[in-house]
């Protein structure tokens, strides 16, 4: 990742702004700084950044307000920064189209990994029929899942679930989105489906792999990630 990316961060706390500036610059990104929501929207329009980092406690507007305004004209990935892990607002925003989230205090490598994932997702076309995740390969057309060369037998629901997670690899996928994409719009509240099928999927995938790749994000959803210790919600 040597390419310079423009990262806009909207954050009212000066110490956090300084930290973000430091982290982003040291990684070779081009940081753009905004203190208020209004300023953030303006800079997003004038600079068209590659990723937006959005703090949830802005003085002038709510996160949802800002996100919906931004989404009117931009598909730029948005990563939410929140101080309260019990806050439901982040889930709302994720369902509204935000790409990922981080709970303060966060670690620099975590942040950079999320940014990487977000940029990768925005750059590649989502309709790639083959998903390669290390040893794991998902053939969306042929409905075949392989670990290494071994074919893993999955039920159709398990396959759909894995596909949604795989397409968003590295990113958190909300329960709502998973339920919607796999079981349809009428089942977005039946979270117990997820518990049952995620457990089955883990047994079938993580067993042969010998490591954890599906992480649970409490109260938010699931994340398929090849990086160690990818659970952000600590």
């Amino acid at each position: 990742m040597s390419t310079k990316h423009k990262i806009l961060y909207i954050e009212d706390e000066r110490p956090i702004r300084k930290l973000l500036h430091f982290i982003l610059e040291s990684e070779g990104h081009l940081p753009i700084e905004a203190c208020t929501g209004a300023e953030g929207l303006m800079l997003a329009a004038s600079h068209s950044p590659d990723v937006v980092l959005l703090d949830l406690c802005l003085p002038d507007m709510s996160g949802a307000e800002l996100l919906s305004k931004l989404r009117e004209w931009s598909k730029t990935p948005v990563i939410i920064l929140t101080a309260n892990k019990a806050d439901d607002e982040k889930v709302t925003l994720l369902d509204m189209g935000a790409d990922d989230y981080l709970v303060k205090p966060f670690h620099a490598p975590e942040l950079l990994a999320r940014i990487r994932v977000a940029i990768r997702h925005s750059e590649k076309s989502s309709n790639d029929p083959m998903i390669n995740l290390g040893q794991l390969t998902i053939d969306c057309v042929g409905h075949i899942v392989k670990i290494g060369d071994d074919i893993i037998k999955l039920t159709s629901t398990e396959f759909d679930l894995l596909t949604v997670l795989g397409q968003n690899a590295g990113k958190v996928v909300t329960q709502r989105q998973l339920l919607h994409d796999v079981w349809g719009p009428n089942n977005t509240r039946n979270s117990h489906y997820l518990r049952v099928y995620i457990a089955q999927l883990r047994k079938k995938i993580e067993g042969p792999l010998g490591k954890r790749i599906i992480y649970t994000e409490s109260g938010v959803g699931y994340r398929l990630s090849l990086e160690e210790n990818a659970g952000s919600d600590s």
Partner: protein
């Protein structure tokens, strides 16, 4: 040291000036009679104040066409009078509200003793003046000495003129300045001859009689003495610093026996004067002997008791057929030392029966009470004719008619039996008559019974005893029989009527006791204040034949009506205003009181700890059948009881609040102590590493790695502390609502272990959870907190390198989750304590807030489960037991 001022007295004098700061100042122009120039003096003073730039206006003033006065009125603005419609006639009266609205610096109010037109806010002008003063407006007013209540009798005695308009003495005490407008009696007489004195439109001979030199001199003396008294008192209040031991030596308490006579008014005034001189508290007692009072007598009694209350007495009523016994009981009950009574009238027969008049019998009582007797000077000696007239006036006409009908009936029966049937001799007829008289005793009053006895004996004599149809009696036997008939009839009548009276009293007393008992019971049984007040108001409504409603003040000190499903809730603005007046002044207002008496409802303030907490409103169903004296007193008693109850409630509330505050403070302190350590430790580590970063050259790779590890661990610890504190406050605040959802316990456990990896690295963790473990229905985030805290607790209390075992089992009804370590374990006697907030095991390792396990317990209890420490081979074993929920439906799919 001896002469050091008494701090209490000093405080009082300071308070006195303090209290008056917000109040207007009252200046009285005080004269001995009309025509001495009070109004003139007041106006002159007003002009000098206007020159000083003060805003002076006239509220009420009569010039009586005198040119000197009229000239002075020029240049002072008037406040337009209010027009009051009274029975079709429009009258003008001083507009108190307009004055308060206009808010001049000084208002001139002539004739302080003036009586207002009915329908005004207050019956008396001086009450208006008090309203104005309490709004911070200075008042100048005029008053003649004859209008001072305590001097009224003296003045009447001197001049022979009946004085109707009076003001209470307390106004003189209240006045900040008194200006005596003095003029020599001869000069006044000269002025009068010159026609400069106005005596009113209806000045009659008697009033002109006022103006004799000897009488004026006497009035002048009273005036000057009164003024001297006032100066004396002021002096006394100014030199409180001087020790005056004698003043508080007496422990006297006075009691005045009040009746329904006009004379009682004098008794009350006399007692007030004695009490004032002795600086002693005093009571006014009315003994209800069961006599039926006419409405006029009742009104006088109410006025008397109100007067006593007004003058500062504690008013008490009691029921007892024998006045002396009643007085004696109350005296003993309240430790009365001095008793004031009027000289008893002559009741020969009653005195003979009871063994002496009231005075003699009181004297005979074995008490040390000093008795003051006030002579009734004004007792008028009636002529025989007047007495007869009085007697006739006292006849109860319906009762008389019934008595006559009764006699006619008995006579007719006897006539039939004797003259037609010839059943028995005329003497037996006498027996039947006697029976009739005895029955009459049950039905009629004593007076009527005696009347019936006399007439019946004559009827018997005339129609039945031979010779018939004459009052002449032949045989001496018959004379004796006739006389004994009269005697027996009278005694039977007297006895039965006495029994009736006693019964009446008993009934009244029982009613009173049962009402009070009912109220007390309601207060004790009520679960909330609202339900208590609701029950009481409906009980009172029933008992007092009217509607009762209660209003309490809210947090903002505003009177708030206590809601209940009645149609009448002080909803008329006028009534609500009266309730406000009662609330603000702390005195009863409305029906039957001095304030706004024409309202249809009575409002009594509920006082608690000297603070008005609410108002009780009462409106009789029928205005003409309003409360009688005992009911009225009863209502006041209930109000004071309610006040006491509310006082207790208030006290309890404040007490609970303070307790809660204390508890919170203690918690706060412990939290600070425990948490500050937990926060400071990682902070110190972080600060140290940050400092070390300054000298980067000195660092080799190994130190860097160590530093990084150290930092990560410190940050993790800080995070946990902060999370714990946040969770605790969330759990404590009670606003936390569970977001229950289906969860996979294995997933939760693994997620938590993954997250805690840096902290639990050195502890091998074994997980024993069956793969087919059912889904659990819990708040996932909170449950992760539970697992986190249990795991951290295990790492904290066992040496690193030892294993931690996690297992879960389920059956149909419940499921159990265990976290066991291989540390030293927990002694039996501490297995309960460790779940207490801030409890930490003795000799425990540094670290931990003492909050972890208590948070676990709170969360588990929110889920209706339990957590306990169970026996295990080695180490501590925590077991959570939670109810199992029915599994949700999950669609299965094939391959």
């Amino acid at each position: 040291m001896e002469n050091r001022p008494n701090p209490d007295a000093l405080l009082r004098s300071v308070r006195k000036t303090d209290n008056k700061k917000n109040q207007g100042r009252l200046k009285l122009f005080f004269g001995m009679a009309a025509g001495v120039g009070k109004t003139y003096a007041m106006l002159s003073e007003a002009h000098s104040k206007i020159k000083q730039g003060r805003n002076v206006q006239i509220g009420a003033l009569e010039t009586h066409g005198r040119s000197e006065t009229m000239a002075l009125v020029d240049g002072i603005p008037w406040i337009t009078k209010a027009r009051i419609d009274y029975r079709g006639t429009v009258m003008e009266e001083m507009d108190t509200d307009a004055i308060i609205r206009a808010h001049p610096d000084i208002i001139l109010v002539d004739e302080l003793a003036h009586t207002n037109v009915p329908g005004s806010k207050h019956p008396k002008r001086w009450q208006d003046v008090f309203d104005i003063l309490s709004n911070g407006i200075d008042v100048y007013s005029t008053i003649n000495v004859q209008h001072i209540e305590s001097r009224k009798d003296d003045v009447e005695a001197i001049t022979g003129v009946v004085i109707r308009e009076t003001i209470p003495d307390s106004i003189i005490e209240r006045a900040d300045t008194i200006e005596v407008v003095d003029i020599h009696p001869q000069d006044l007489l000269t002025r009068m001859r010159e026609g400069k004195v106005y005596l009113g439109d209806k000045a009659d001979k008697a009033e002109k009689n006022f103006f004799k030199e000897d009488k004026l001199t006497a009035l002048r003396e009273i005036l000057l003495r009164l003024s001297a008294d006032k100066v004396d008192k002021e002096l006394e209040s100014l030199i409180v610093h001087e020790p005056k031991d004698a003043v508080w030596k007496t422990q006297d308490k006075l009691l005045v026996a009040v009746g329904h006579g006009l004379f009682s008014e004098k008794l009350i005034r006399a007692t007030k004067q004695v009490a004032q001189r002795l600086k002693a508290p005093w009571m006014a007692l009315y003994v209800d002997t069961g006599d039926n009072l006419s409405s006029e007598e009742q009104n006088i009694l109410i006025r008397n008791l109100d007067l006593a209350r007004e003058l500062g007495a504690q008013v008490q009523t009691t029921s007892e057929t024998d006045m002396v016994r009643g007085i004696d009981r109350v005296c003993r009950q309240y430790h009365i030392t001095q008793l004031v009574i009027g000289r008893p009238g002559k009741h020969f027969w009653r005195d003979v029966i009871r063994g002496g008049n009231i005075l003699e019998r009181l004297n005979r009582l074995e008490t040390s009470i000093a008795i003051h007797i006030v002579r009734n000077n004004s007792q008028i000696q009636f002529s025989v004719g007047e007495k007869l007239l009085q007697l006739i006036r006292r006849i109860d006409l319906p009762e008389l008619l019934w008595a006559i009908l009764w006699m006619i009936g008995v006579t007719l029966i006897n006539t039939y039996l004797y003259h037609y049937l010839h059943l028995f001799p005329y003497r037996s007829v006498g027996m039947i008559f006697l029976l009739g008289v005895s029955f009459a005793g049950v039905l009629f009053s004593l007076r009527a019974t005696v009347f019936i006895a006399i007439i019946i004996s004559q009827i018997w004599n005339f129609f039945f005893i031979p010779p018939l149809f004459t009052f002449h009696i032949q045989s001496t036997d018959d004379i004796a029989l006739c006389l004994s008939f009269l005697g027996v009839a009278s005694i039977t009548g007297a006895l039965t009527s006495n029994i009736k009276r006693n019964q009446n009293l008993l009934r009244k007393q029982e009613e009173k006791t049962s009402t009070l008992y009912l109220i007390a019971k309601m207060i004790v049984e009520a679960e909330t204040r609202e339900s208590c007040l609701m029950a009481i108001s409906s009980a009172l409504s029933e008992n007092f034949r009217g509607r009762v409603a209660i209003a309490l003040k809210d947090k903002n000190q505003i009177l708030e009506f206590f809601k209940r499903g009645e149609d009448w809730q002080f909803n008329q603005p006028k009534e609500w205003a009266v309730a406000q007046v009662a609330f603000e002044t702390g005195k009863a207002a409305g029906l039957g009181t001095d304030t706004l008496p024409l309202t249809q409802s009575l409002f009594i303030p509920l006082t608690a700890r000297g603070e008005v907490v609410g108002v009780i409103g009462y409106r009789p169903h029928d205005l003409h059948a309003a409360l009688n004296i005992s009911e009225r007193e009863m209502l006041f008693t209930v109000c004071s009881q309610l006040g006491l109850y509310l006082q207790r409630e208030l006290f309890q509330e404040t007490f609970l609040e303070t307790e809660q505050l204390k508890k919170a403070e203690r918690l706060h302190q412990t939290l600070l102590n425990s948490v500050s350590h937990e926060i400071k430790t990682p902070l110190t580590a972080i600060a140290g590493i940050v400092d070390a970063l300054h000298d980067q050259q000195k660092m080799n790779e190994e130190t860097k790695i160590q530093m990084h590890q150290n930092l990560t661990e410190s940050v993790q610890r800080l995070k946990i502390v902060v999370e714990n504190i946040l969770d605790m406050s969330r759990l404590n605040s009670g606003v936390l609502d569970l977001k229950k959802d289906w969860h996979d316990i294995l997933d939760l456990t693994q997620t938590v272990i993954t997250r805690l990896r840096p902290l639990v690295q050195s502890f091998p963790i074994s997980i024993d959870i069956p793969t087919d473990f059912p889904l659990i229905f819990v708040d996932g985030r909170l449950f992760e907190q539970v697992l986190t805290n249990l795991l951290l607790n295990a790492t904290q209390y066992s040496p690193s390198g030892t294993a931690i075992h996690i297992s879960a089992r389920a059956d149909k009804k419940e499921w159990r989750y265990q976290v066991a370590d291989e540390g030293p374990g927990i002694p039996l006697n501490q297995r309960e304590l460790i779940f207490e907030k801030f409890y930490r095991m003795p000799n425990s390792k540094v670290g931990g807030t003492g909050l972890g396990l208590s948070i676990v317990k709170s969360i588990i209890e929110l889920h209706h489960g339990k957590i306990e420490v169970i026996d295990s081979a080695k180490g501590a074993n925590f077991q959570i037991t939670l109810p199992m929920s029915d599994q949700p439906f999950t669609p299965k799919d094939l391959s």
